[in-house]
Every structure is written in C-alpha cells, then in structure tokens.
Symmetry: D3
Subunit: 256 residues, 6 copies
C-alpha cells in the first residue's frame, strides 16, 4: 500500500510525525473552478495540479498540502474569458490571501520548504504576491526562514516531448486551455471525467496580442477551449506527466 | 447510475443546461483544514459538509458548488485552538472574500438561490459577512436578486435524535469537535479515513466561559478533540445524517 | 467618593500613574447602536457593557477603556436583523479594525492584560479576529507579550439564576434581544431610559435554524425584540448583574 | 423638559417617527481618545463635539447620531503626537470605515442630510474620504441622493470673538490642543471633568514647519498641551460656544 | 555640468554608489494630476514639487526619489473639487500605499533619511499615514531605523516674502490653487507650460467654512482656480522659490 | 509644431475640448522604477512606455494619460529580482489601485476608450485586475460603458523584425530586461540617458523554470540585466519602434 502524501487525508498526529525533521518539503497545488469545454469538468485545474503534486511528492518523500481551488479570473487569451458561465473568477486579493496564509501557517507548523504547483495559467502572479507578502510577514518572526518555490507544471515538459507530441507545431501553453495536454493528462488520471464523444473539434483560437475588457465573446471558440483536445490519449498523458514529474523532481531535489 | 450533482465534476455545457431554468438551488459546502485528533484526517469538515450537501442536493434536484476549504482559525472552545500544529487558520478577510465571490459569480451564472452548508463551527459569522457584502455588490446590478440561506448542518439534528444518541447528556455542538457526531458521520461516509484504533478516549473538555489569546494550550486535551468519539458507529452516523438531511430538505424546500 | 475607573473621564497623567505597575487589567466594553424595541434606546448594548465593565473593574482594581460602539450588523436570529430602521450595522472590517487598534495601542501604553466585555451578540467573532490580528502585529515587537480575554457578559449568568429568573424555561441568549435580561439590567442601571409603558408584549419569536439574506422581515416581531421584556424588574437586573459580575471577577482574577 | 435629540438615547419607534418626513438633518460628532494634559480627560474631543452637536441640533430641530470616538492618530503639531501614553491613534482605514458606514446606514434609514461635526483636528481628511466613498457606494442605489456637510467646529468662531478672547494674539487652531478654547468649553459644559489646579502653565509650543516620524518627543511640552489653558473660564466657553453654534446653525440652515 | 540628483535618471550602479555612506537624504516629491485653470497644465503639482525637490537636493548633496503623481481627490476649498473634469482623484488607500512602499523600499536600499516634499494640499494626511504605517512595518526589521520628514513646500515661504508679494493681503495657501504662487513658480521653471494669455482673472473664491459632498459646483470659479494668477511673474517665482528652498535646506540640515 | 498629446502637459480647458466628442482614445503608459544595469537609468520602463504611447497617440489622434510609474516587484526571471538595490517594488494592491482609479476617473471625464501600454513585464496581471475591478465599479453607473485594451508593447514586434534583429536566436521577452530591445529603444529616444561605455557584456542569463523566494541572488548577472545590450543601436531602436507602433496603431484602430 502506498504511503499517504496528502495531508488533508492524514490525521494530525501522523502529520506532525511526518514533518518533525524540520526538513520536509510541502507541495501545494493551485487550481481553479473553470469551464474546460464540453468534454472535461470544471475542476480540471485543481484535479491535475493535485494529482501531479501527489505523484511528485511520492517520488521524493514530500507531502502535499491543501489544494488552492480559488483560481484567478479566467482570461480570454489563456482560459477563454471570465464572462463564460461555468468559470468562477476570484479577485486577486482572495487568491493572494489564501497563498499568503498557507505559507504562514506551514511556517508555524515547522514546514519551511514549500512548492506551489500551479495548474491554472492566470494564477501565477497572484501566487507570487501571496508568497512575497507571507515572507514579509515572517521576516520579523523567530520561526526561522522559509523558502518557497513557485512553478507552473507545464513549464517542465521538455522540448523533446513537445516536439514529439505536437508534430504539427506547438501553439504555446497559454492556448493549451482544454487542449491536448490537459485532455491527455485527464485521460491518464481521471478517465471517468473525460467525455471524448462530447469534445468539440476546432482549429486553435487566434487571439489578438492584447486583452480587451469587457471581452469580445466572439473571439473564444464556442467550445470554450482555445485549442482542440481531439488527438489526446492517455498515453500522451503519461508521457507528459513523466516529463513534468522528472523535471519537478529534479528542480525540487536540487534546491531543497 | 446517479445523476452528478457536484458541478466541479460536471462539464460546463451540462452545468449550463442544469441551471437554465433560472430556478436552480446551489448548495455550497464550507469546511476547513483542521486537526481532528489522532483518529480522523485534517479534511473532516470539508469532507462532511460536501458529502451532506451532495446527498441533500440529490434529494431535491439541487446542485453542489465548489467547496470552500479555507476555514477560519480554529478556536479553543470549538476546535481546540489554532495554536495546534495541523490546523490551518485563514483570516476573516479571506473566508469572507471566498464566500462573497461565490455568491457574485453564481449570480452572474444565473443561479439566484444559494445555500451555504457550514461544517466548521468557527466559519459562520464570516460566511454571513461574505454573503451580506455580495448582496450589497449585487444591489445595483441588473442580474435580478439573489437569495442566500446559511446554515450549520448540525443544527438540523432533532432533539429526538440528540436524546437517543447522547443518552448521558448532550455536551453542545461546540465541543463536538472530533466527537461522536463527526466520528460517526465519517464512519458512515469515509470509513477508510477513520482509525478507531488510534482514537484517544477522554472526558469532554471543560472549557472556560471566555476565550484567551494566546490560548492556554493546557485547556485542550492532548487528543486535540473536545469530546471523545469512542462510542461512534456508522449506524449513528446514518441516523444523524438522516435527521440532518430531512431537516435541510425541509428548510430548503419551504424557502426556495 | 468612588475612584474613577473609566479612562475616558481620566486625565492622561492619572492614567499613566494608574498603569505604571505594568500589571493593570483593562476592560474594554463592546456594544452597538441597534434598535431594542419601543421601550429601550438604541444605545442599550454599549450602555450595559460599559456599566458592567465599570462595576466589575471597581471590584478588582482594574480600568475601563474606550467603549467600542460600532457593532456588527444585527442578525435576525439574535437582533432582529439589520434591515430594521434604527440598527446601524458596521462591516466586519471596521469592527475588527477598532478592536485590533485598541489591543495594539494599549500594548504601546504598557497595558498587557485586556478583557473585551461584549454586549452585542453578533460581535464576538469579529472581536476575536481583531485580537488575533493585533497579537500577530505585536509578535515581533519588543513591547512584551499581551494577553487578551474575550467574553460575552451574559455567559456568566449562572444556571441557578437562569432557573430562578426564567421559571417557564429559558429561551437562549440569542433571543434575549430586548427581553427580560436586557430590560431588567436597564431598569437597574438606566431606569430613565426604559419606558415600560411602551413595551410591546408578545411570545418569543420562533426563528428558523438558518439565516436568510435578504432577511424575511415577517419573521421578526413588530417590536423588533425577539422575546418580551414584560416581566422585567430592576430587582431581576440586580440579581443578573450580581451573577455576571461575580463570574467575571472570578474569571479575570484567576487568569490575570 | 427638553426634547431628546441624541438617537442613542431614543427608542427605535421614536427615531423612526422623528425621521419620517424624509427631510431630517443628522449631526454626527467625531472625536477621539487623546491625552489633553493634566487638567482634562482623554475624552475631551468626543465630549465637546457631542455636546456642541446636541445643542446645535436642539436649535434647528435636527438629530444627533452615534458619536465617532475612534480618532485618527494624534499628530505632534496639532495634538502633541501619538507617541504619548494616553492617546489612542486609529488607522486611517478605521476612521474612514466608521464614517463611511454611518452615511450609508443613515441613507438606508431615510436620512439624507448629514453633518459631520469634527472635534479632533487630525480627523478631517479621513471623514472626507469616508463620506466620499459612501457616496460612491450609494451612487447606484435607488435610495435617493445623500448630501453631507463636513466641518470642524472651531472654524465657526468668528474673528470678532477671536480678537476678544485672544487679546495677545491668536496662535492658530492647530496649537489650541488643550488650550484656552477646549478648556473653556469644558469648563462650561463639563466642569466636573476639568481640574484647573492641575493645569500646567507654559508658553505655546513652537513647532517646526514640518512633521517628523518618529516624533521628536522633546518638541511637545511635558503637559502634552500645545498652549496653556490657564486663562480659561466657563464664560469664555459660553462666548465661544455661542459663536460656534450661531455659525453652524446658519450654515446648516442655509444649505439644508 | 550639474550632478544628477534624480535617481530615476540615474543608473543603479551610480545610485548604489551615491547612497553607500548610509547617511544619504532622499527627497520624495508628491504631486497630483489636477486641473489648474486655463493657463497651466494638469501636471503642475508634480512638476513643481519635483523641481523644488531637485533644486533643494542639489544644494545639500541629497537625492530625489520617484515622484508620487497619484494625488488625493481635489477638494473644493483647496483645489476646486474633484467633480471637475481634468482632476484625477485617487483614493486615500492608494496614496497611502505608494508613500508606504517608498519608505519601505528606501529603507531596504539603505536610505534611512527621507523627506516628503508635498505639492498638492490635499495629500498631506495621507502621506502622513503612509509614513506611519511604513515605520510600523519596519519596526521589527533588522534594517535600522528610518527617520522621515514631511512638509508642504509653501509652508516655508517666510512672512516677509508673503508681505512683499501679497501687498493687498494674503488669502491663505488653501485658495492659492492656480493663483500667484503656483503661476509664478511655473513661470520661473516651466514657462513653456504657462499660457498667461488664457488666464482667467477673477476675485479670490469665497468658500464656506465647511465642505459639502456632492460639491456645489457653483462655488468654484469657472476658471477652476481659487484665486487669480494675473499678477504672477517669473521674478516672483524666483523670490518664492528662494524663500522655500532656504527654509527647506535649513530644516533638513538641522534635522538630518 | 506638434500637437500636445500628453494631458499632464495640457491645460484642463484644452483637455475638455479634446475629449468632448465622447469618442477619444486615451493611452495610459505603465512603467516602473527598476534597475536596468549600469548603462541605463532606473526610469527606463516608464520613459519607454510613455514615449511609445505618445508617438502612437500622435498617429491616431489619441491622447496620453498620466503614466503609472509604480511598477510591481521586479521578478528574477524577468527583471533580475526585487532584492536588488535600485528596484522599487510596489505591492499588487497599489498597482491595482492606481489602474482602477484611472479607468474610473477617465470614465467620469467622459473617456470610454482606454489603452494600457505596459512597459514593465511584471505589471500585466495587476493592470488586468485593476481594469476588471474598475469595470465592476462602473457596472451600475449611468456613465455609459468603458472599453479597455491592455497590452505590453513588445508583443507587437513582428516575427520578421525579431528574425532580423536577433539573427542568433531570440531569447524571449522576459530576459530582454536591459537587453537589446530596451537599450536600442533608449538609444533612439533618450540617448543622453544611455551610457554604452558602462554596459556590462555577458551571456544571457540562464534562469530556472521556477521562481524562488527569497531569490537566489547568484542567478542574476552582476549587471542586473538578463541579457546583454551590447549590440544595441539607435537604428535597431527605430526598427523596433516602427514595428511596435504599426502594430499598436492597427490594433487600436480596428478595435476603437
């Protein structure tokens, strides 16, 4: 039986035992509640960041903390736009506040090495701000210094894997919303929550070099996805995940 | 097969279909990440509020929205205190912000009947503030009025059930933290996450009529629970759940 | 002549003299501006919490600080609801901010033992948050640690007194809004501000197990009170006050 | 017997009756808790602004709302400085929040004509911001427009009165902290809270043309006052009050 | 060639060299974007405070930091009012936040002596709050204490200069908005941005002793200025500037 | 002589005349105060975004509003990191607040078409949040809808120009901090503020796929730049600017 890595399913005594070395690494998944087309559920970003965090943690004797499921507003060029019914866009303030507290509370617990594993493109800067403010909060404390790593998991897919999985050219991670990467990873880890028969196929969205608010709804494909997940397979998901996790293991191990 | 009620596992097209009547009721679970002794996991409050919301929703053709897992700081007289390692205490501001956004985003989606199902004692006033501010935000909008119900699920256990399950006297819901009700409900719904062999048995905590900050750690039993879950059974969990859900179905149906 | 205990009526030199031991206890009353029916003024909660704080302070050589008169929004199940004209509901943020500053400023003055004496049911969690944040603010300071006690004064009425004064059964402190306890205490301490001839008699309100926003105005009796103060007397007020103050003296003395 | 003008001493039914014309004027006193030397209590600013508001209201059939007693930080050039023990300095945010809510709540009650009567020099800009934000809040509402007047009461003392009461030259209202005007007004209205025998006599403070933080404590006289109240009398208080109230009556009547 | 004093035109290596003594003084100009009649540009306050800061810094081997151009809302009695098109009024929160960060970042850089040079009447209290909060932020830090001076430049014009330049009586700095002082200083330093042929001549505005919100637009002269700049000359600008700078040099030198 | 486009150098009467059509486009530059190596000043981002906005505005009869010079914290992978002395990092809250107010105030003035021209990589998400909140503020207003475009100017450099100017491969805009693009644009527009003889030449920084806080200072080259500006020329600046402005003119014209 596998060791439990997710602390929300662990009792407090076991948790305290797990971190008592003072050297534990905690991975914190950050997702969203956002439409992902007709073929995947609203929870994709939280599910994938959590799963990737758990599998990575299992490889390096790390833990996984409470997932942040309040994602920043979906933006048209990376998530279709927050005008779409089905996306829940939280204010910067709230996303920042949740991440800030997590760093502060983990520090109080004695966990000084934290990795935010982002799975929702729009979140990144707000995670960064939350961490920065938490470290400012902690600056005067007697708890000892925290070190925090922040990453978006797709950045760890290697150029080799990209070349292999996107033979017709890679559109960029921003328009991957609901596309081959996310769909393949879902097929690998949550196949019961992917409905390939409902997938709407279309060319990748061609979005302008700017944002417009209020959004011009006509720029987002009706599917709500920015590229098509049609050629997704669980096998591609496995290849992507392996590439991602290898990179993350490497990054975390070398830093912490 | 049962209809899916939790929108985070539903695709956006199905979600939009589900709410198109303009009359849908959305239950929003509110939990925490908080120590619950040696025999239950940190996620108890989020798990139970979500499960109860889902089962209730299934009975009345309602939906369940994204769970709020950022709970307010554990307080000594109802959760053992936030000084304990394993509890994650979020600031009022953050809890308020998450609830406020949910009401506002649901309104934008066209969902005007919302029920917050609280599973963490300390949260209640902050949910209330979030809802009040959201309704103020929406007051000038053209989206039509929202109506929001707020409740803590244990308030629906009937006096009859209390008399039956606590034959030696009922200590009050505040000290039920990690006690018979929560443990029994977990045994009923998440038996794989209850470790009765690790349960620490002790008399109910006798807490003063006031709070003290910093907390006096000696007042919380070493288990972190405020009463003992020793006599918990899945059957009691079933009786409790039935009482709760019957009451909630009644309340929601009569109001919405 | 009695020693002045309320520092707002004391000059700064005397104040500094009074706290120079470094061991002083400061009681801070917290009230509201809220309708209390046709027979009592809007200021009841501030008046009673201040008076009780002053009388208690006089017994234990403590001081009374500036009363917090900005109370949180009246809620239907404990104050009739904030939709009623005559109640002034302050946002959580403001109540928290006032309490936070008081702890911080008292600490700067050298007063490290503070007791918040709450007289408005809805305030409690916001006082708590203000205190928690103030202690976080002060954590890195060189001023020495503060200890803060928080209480709602009615929690100190003993079961014996309840049994004696409510022979027909006690409805709970939440529905005591404008009822026998508050009216009796007002008759004892501020008889010129009670107009018994205007009191509207009615059965205790039967309120649901949940809150609803916007409130359903029909649930609050037209008096604005949740139970009737009809059988109130100054003598009952004296008995209640004695019970409360004895309990508070005991609690404060044993802790500080 | 005089009509009650202060709504905190009025019951809600009478209050509602008083404002039902929709044309009522509400005066809101704004004070502080701040050291005022050895001869006057910490509450001077709140007491005087409240008394002046009440007497003015009585002349023009207006009402007086809940006093704001959370004053902004004492500044060295107008209040001695907030480093002094005895002054309670609230953050801008809190002062703004209290004033903002008052305008908003009064509007909800149907009171659309509000006058803030400031009695603490440092407050003015923060009252202004609170009012401005409240009017922004209300801009989209259907409640009808509010009009708010803001003033500091001493600005209504006429040049004639100044010439008469300060024959040796007028030092300016900023250094009047604890000086002739405040002391005389206190002697007139609250003689039992003035201790002339404890008054510390000294020349008016000569303060620089700038502020310095942290304050240079040596610039504030040991009395904590910026000028001496030695020649104060109740009669001067009466003359000052008459001048102030005549001016305020005039201003309010001509505008509202 | 003159030494560069404004760090925004300096490279980072030179900047670090300039402050390495640990004893540098940094002047921070604070202005606004606000209408200044038909004869001067919106940027007057930022331009003048920056120029005065630069010339002063040049005399005392000090530096000039990034100008704060987000000014608080124009108020009718000192700037004509923020209802006028052309004025940009920032919330208190924003002005406070910018000033707070500047003190904190300068402290991190090693600059511990900061002078805010205000050029927009309405800003003063918000600069003060920003500085106070920054010093609170820094209180627990290990960076060493900062000292901050705050001033409005016109306060340094001597009575002699006022008597000389305003032979018909001085109306007060508040109504100097767009008047002789500002126009003369602009003529001296930015003559290409003054259009005397467009200047609208009129008597000084007679404003009431109170503020009113919403403002009564009829109280502000159509020019948007509160007094006339008609008799302005560059020579007067030179005299004013000399008086101001001499006073500031004196103040800064004697304190830092 | 060229028409003035920057409203901070324009008088209010001319400004009102310029926008009276109700159809004006306002470009708002957003920069920072941030180290840019030994060869360029701290103000680069504000200078370039303002210059590009002004030149673009001149081509399309648009205006340029007040530059936002409070930039978000420099991040290591795009600006070297905010630990470097010379960079001023503002909190998210402040950057958001400034942008939010600008949209709101421009709307009040009657300017409903706004383009934020970003010149500091880290700002983008915070500009977006500011705009989103401003549009929420304005949603209930009667002022008519605003439309806001947001862009980072470098995104408009065409692939053709990139291929021509970066013959050895393009490192990405993130590491362009202090590199060929910024240096060439500065040489074209502000040659007196570029000191090529001080430029420190080095290979492009190789930064990890994640951020780390506190930053690992050893990852940023000692120059503070992320790539070398050595081969920069004013001619390259001209080519870049032309490409950028052509793209921006096209985008703005087609949308507004």
């Amino acid at each position: 039986m596998t060791r439990e890595v997710n602390i929300t399913r662990m009792d407090a005594f076991t948790y305290r035992e797990s971190i008592k070395s003072g050297d534990s690494v905690m991975l914190v998944p950050v997702g969203s509640v956002e439409q992902h087309g007709a073929h995947m559920p609203l929870g994709v970003d939280t599910m994938l960041s959590t799963k990737i965090a758990e599998l990575t943690a299992a490889r390096i004797d790390a833990l996984v903390g409470p997932a942040v499921s309040v994602g920043y507003k979906s933006q048209q060029r990376s998530g279709g736009g927050n005008h779409i019914v089905g996306s829940f866009g939280f204010d910067a303030d709230t996303v920042v506040g949740v991440c800030r507290t997590l760093v502060r509370e983990l520090s109080r617990h004695g966990v000084k090495k934290v990795v935010f594993v982002n799975g929702h493109y729009e979140n990144y800067q707000f995670i960064y701000e939350g961490v920065d403010l938490a470290l400012r909060d902690l600056a005067g404390s007697s708890q000892g210094a925290s070190q925090v790593m922040m990453l978006s998991y797709w950045d760890f897919v290697t150029p080799q894997v990209i070349a292999r999985l996107y033979p017709d050219g890679f559109p960029g991670w921003d328009v991957e919303h609901g596309g081959v990467m996310e769909t393949s990873l879902m097929l690998e880890y949550f196949p019961e929550l992917v409905w390939m028969d409902r997938l709407i196929d279309h060319a990748a969205a061609e979005l302008p070099l700017y944002d417009l608010l209020p959004a011009d709804a006509s720029l987002t494909p009706e599917s709500g996805c920015l590229s098509s997940g049609k050629v997704s397979t669980a096998q591609k998901g496995q290849i992507l995940a392996e590439s991602i996790m290898a990179g993350m293991v490497d990054a975390i191990s070398s830093r912490f």
